[in-house]
């Protein structure tokens, strides 16, 4: 494992694979920008969710992971959490919580799903619930820079070693941003293992649903997957 001093790498948007085919662990450092879209009812949430930039949807769908990386919150995204906590509407909260982000390929698709959930619920139940200004939903988005953590892995063994210790934000970056913000078909870990000829591991990494675990649980699960694969390959070689 090679380690070097971190360096600001603005606009670096790659999958974290350098020219030597090493996996470079990246992470993002960002400020939260407040946008002029607010909602005090489901109807207003529908309008704002339709107009807000996609990066804002990304922020609110993943904010909970940053807030508490060790814990899976009751509701996995800000929309569901707000519907439950502020509006007191458990039904729509559950529907929003059940957004299937691993199966939906893009933020525009997710926006459509959110809109359908809200529109159907409004049709069934109306828009009677309103919250005060202090509880309104305020749309935000991240703005910042992507960094190298200074940690790289040349081999799957090194990868496992770094994965255990790397900042949790780096795992977030490589798991959640590739598909929804960078247009990739799968997460960076899956892409790297595929390039290294680990087809079945790559498939498992692509298929697992990281939205059902806390970030730290995701780290543990990734480590389990990789170490099981390495162990099985070793057993085959030894046999």
């Amino acid at each position: 494992m090679a380690t070097e001093k971190p360096e600001a790498a603005s606009m670096k948007q790659g999958p974290g694979i350098d020219s030597n085919e090493a996996f470079e662990f990246l992470r993002a450092s960002y400020l939260v920008q407040v946008l002029p879209f607010r909602a005090r009812s489901l109807g207003q949430l529908l309008t704002a969710a339709t107009l807000a930039p996609e990066t804002s949807l990304f922020y609110h769908l993943h904010h909970a992971f940053f807030r508490s990386p060790e814990r899976l919150p009751e509701y996995p995204n800000d929309f569901a959490s707000w519907a439950h906590t502020s509006l007191g509407d458990a039904v729509v909260a559950e529907r929003l919580a059940n957004l299937n982000l691993t199966r939906t390929a893009s933020l525009s698709g997710i926006r459509r799903e959110i809109s359908v959930i809200l529109a159907e619920h409004l049709q069934d139940s109306g828009d009677g619930r309103h919250v005060g200004k202090e509880n309104e939903f305020i749309f935000c988005r991240p703005c910042g820079l992507v960094f190298s953590t200074g940690k790289r892995a040349q081999t799957p063994g090194e990868f496992l070693e770094v994965l255990q210790k790397v900042e949790i934000d780096s795992i977030f970056y490589h798991l959640f941003t590739p598909r929804l913000l960078r247009g990739a078909s799968r997460n960076d870990f899956s892409t790297w293992f595929e390039r290294r000829g680990f087809g079945s591991l790559s498939q498992r990494l692509a298929e697992f649903d990281p939205y059902l675990n806390s970030l730290e649980d995701n780290r543990r699960y990734l480590m389990e997957l990789v170490s099981a694969e390495l162990k099985s390959r070793k057993e085959v070689r030894d046999a």
Partner: protein
């Protein structure tokens, strides 16, 4: 600088600070506010400025001059921005503007990025010959429900800045400029937050007659109705039906708050001579005592009904204490409900959560540990420093209006 915080702040934040600062070396930053001493802004700048310097960013901190009339006006503005119903007339505006016009003649704005703090110097943007896109307005007050007349006046100046910074989304305003969030922070090495020896904590509790053998519930805050000290006493009395415990209400009165003495008197009346309720009116520099009292607490409360940010919550969590806080202002941004403490909406809710924590000490300890980690990740001064570095990058790249992250 980051070395001082190594082992305390997250390594990831320290490495980000180094990396961000490397790209800004040789650039200059200038802060302007209204006082060198006293108040949270001065306290923060006194700590941040040397940190910027140590990172190779030339940093200057200028303070505007003003006479008594100016400060009377800005005090009214300050209260009005936090919702007070004050009269703000033509004469007030003239006093305010004239003072800033005079200051602009002496003040040299020549850094790459200039951060103007709060309302007092805000209109400098109108009088100084400086690229406005590189001027940042940093708001440190609760702007959730500002007085319309004063905010209407101030927002005309704020709209001319390149960027505005607020604590939490609820404080952001309809403005034609980008607005970003930088929550407040605590310095883990300051007198109020540094580690203390057990003997030091005991020395303070003994000085006030507090029995550490019994559970202690502590609320640290000014004697202000919005901090709901009478609600805290009511909750405590409900808890005491089941638990032999003590309550400490520690805070101060403020010269600029004529109501505080009255509230303190009401609190004494509410306590009704109960020997287990300790009402401590402390001087503004009693940081060591506050630190010790928070550390002596079994549970910390901040049962505000209205709050700016409420950094006492973060201070308590940093000391590993579970916190029961009112769901108001910036408190929900700090407490992760049911993980690092509880958010409550009534005295009864507070009593219920206190009873739970006092009867589940192991869970309370776990919550406290999670709270400390939450603060370590999100509310230390090193994160604040990193956020300012990001602001500098954003302003210097001339793209505060669009995310530069992954777009």
């Amino acid at each position: 600088m980051p070395d001082t915080y190594r082992g305390i702040a997250p390594e990831s934040v320290l490495s980000e600070v180094e990396a961000l600062a490397a790209g800004l070396r040789g650039h200059a930053l200038q802060h302007v506010n209204s006082t060198r001493k006293g108040g949270g802004v001065a306290e923060l700048l006194a700590r941040l400025v040397p940190m910027f310097e140590s990172l190779g960013i030339r940093t200057r901190w200028d303070v505007i001059d003003g006479n008594g009339d100016f400060y009377d006006v800005t005090k009214s503005m300050h209260n009005a921005l936090q919702g007070a119903d004050v009269e703000f007339n033509y004469e007030d505006r003239e006093i305010y503007l004239e003072c800033l016009r005079e200051n602009s003649k002496k003040l040299r704005l020549d850094a790459d990025v200039v951060v103007i703090h709060d309302a007092q110097p805000a209109y400098l943007v109108d009088f100084c010959d400086f690229d406005r896109s590189r001027m940042v307005w940093r708001c440190h007050v609760d702007l959730a429900q500002p007085n319309a007349s004063v905010w209407g006046f101030l927002s005309r100046a704020v709209s001319k800045y390149g960027l505005a910074i607020f604590h939490v989304p609820q404080f952001a305003q309809p403005l034609p400029i980008p607005q970003v969030l930088i929550p407040p922070s605590i310095d883990p090495l300051s007198e109020k937050n540094r580690e203390l020896e057990e003997e030091q904590i005991t020395e303070v509790t003994e000085r006030f007659g507090i029995d550490r053998a019994r559970p202690v519930v502590v609320q640290v805050s000014r004697f202000d109705r919005f901090k709901d000290p009478l609600g805290v006493i009511r909750a405590f009395r409900l808890v005491r039906q089941n638990f032999d415990c003590q309550l400490v209400l520690a805070g101060g009165t403020a010269d600029d708050d004529p109501e505080s003495a009255q509230v303190l008197a009401e609190v004494h009346e509410g306590a009704d001579g109960d020997p287990d309720i300790f009402i401590l009116s402390l001087p503004p520099d009693a940081d060591f005592e506050i630190n010790a009292l928070q550390r002596a607490a079994t549970v910390v409360m901040q049962k505000s009904t209205r709050e700016g940010f409420g950094l006492t919550v973060t201070e308590a969590m940093w000391k590993g204490k579970p916190v029961v806080g009112g769901a108001a202002g910036g408190i929900p941004a700090q407490i992760i409900d049911r993980s690092t403490g509880f958010l409550v909406h009534s005295a009864e809710g507070a009593a219920f959560r206190l009873r739970y924590l006092l009867s589940h000490p192991k869970h309370a300890t776990r919550m406290g540990k999670r709270g400390r980690e939450h603060v370590r990740r999100n509310f230390l001064i090193t994160r604040h420093l990193r956020d300012y570095l990001l602001v500098m990058h954003s302003v210097l790249r001339g793209c505060p209006e669009s995310p530069i992250w992954l777009l």
